[in-house]
Amino acid sequence: MSLETQPDFVADDEILYRSIPVKTGYDYSSDGQLNFSSSAFQDRYQKPSVDRAKLCNNDPKHTQQKPTDGVIKLIVGEIREEIVEVESTPLRQYALDVIPDPIEASSLQKANLAHALIISNPQYHNDTGFRKAQRRLAYIATQNNPSWLIPPQE
């Protein structure tokens, strides 16, 4: 399938998969509650990678980065839901979005047509903006994942 035939919009009801590094990406409260760390959503370009479930045969194994990593799910609409007003006059807002980012095969990496990015629109203007987005994703992940799609191997 060529990249041109891929959908160019990620729907609100789509499920996304994210690989979570073993131990560092999560912790458990004393009552056994699974909490996701902000570090579960790191990205050096401040655009965390996810895979669209429907484009990888709903197989979370497709997303797992290392054999020991866990995999969780996120729902697109929940990520997009909040619009943050930074300034009222003039009105300046930003929101998180999920955009398709299919990867073609190259000498450096395998093809991944399910690949997508969680971005800020407009871009974060400092580290704090991205850190709050990571915190938001961690809360959403904690709400949506009382258990793992693929548990990490500690």
């Binding site: 760390s37 570090s39 909040e82």
Partner: protein, 173 residues
């Protein structure tokens, strides 16, 4: 898991509750038989596990998370070590129990310390020169509070940790 090992001058007897203590030391393993010293779980009372976890950050490679993050900076780790010991002392002085943070790093090498209490979370990003924090009690970014600390003292400790440990659901400020 950390335990406090209490050795006495007589053979250990599980039914003997008032042994004279000869010496005490920290060990990192569970008892393997009934003939071992009395062991008390200490996870929430010592800082040893925290300092060990910080030291371990020095062994993390670049791209430790598979998403391109750089390895934690030694200067940030050392600052986090000093900060954690101050925090531990402030916790002891305030009469609270030490809760070890979840320790990881961010994409540019700063040390990330995190705590959760019910729906609240506190994230501290420690660089070589300062500490930035984010307090949150839900997924809404507009409700999150952020700030920067040059150091930790009794006042900033109260602002961060008494907020975290109260059951008040709102009031992130």
């Amino acid at each position: 898991m950390t335990f406090l090992a209490i050795y006495n001058n007589v053979d250990y007897n599980p039914g003997y509750n008032s042994a004279t203590i000869a010496h005490v030391r920290i060990v990192n393993q569970r008892p393997t038989s009934t003939n071992q010293p009395l062991l008390i779980k200490l996870t929430n009372q010592t800082i040893e596990a925290t300092l060990n976890a910080l030291e371990d950050l020095k062994n993390w490679p670049d791209n430790w998370d598979s998403y391109g993050s750089v390895k934690p900076l030694v200067s940030a780790i050392e600052n986090a070590n000093i900060f954690s010991q101050k925090l531990f002392n402030l916790t002891s002085e305030s009469g609270h129990q030490w809760t070890p943070p979840h320790i990881s790093a961010d994409h540019n090498g700063e040390v990330l310390l995190e705590w959760w209490h019910k729906n609240k979370s506190l994230a501290l990003y420690v660089s070589s020169s300062e500490i930035n924090y984010i307090k949150a009690y839900n997924a809404n970014m507009k409700d999150m509070k952020d700030g920067c600390l040059q150091d930790i003292n009794a006042s900033t400790y109260r602002d961060l940790f008494e907020w975290l440990n109260t059951d008040e659901l709102r009031n992130a400020a």
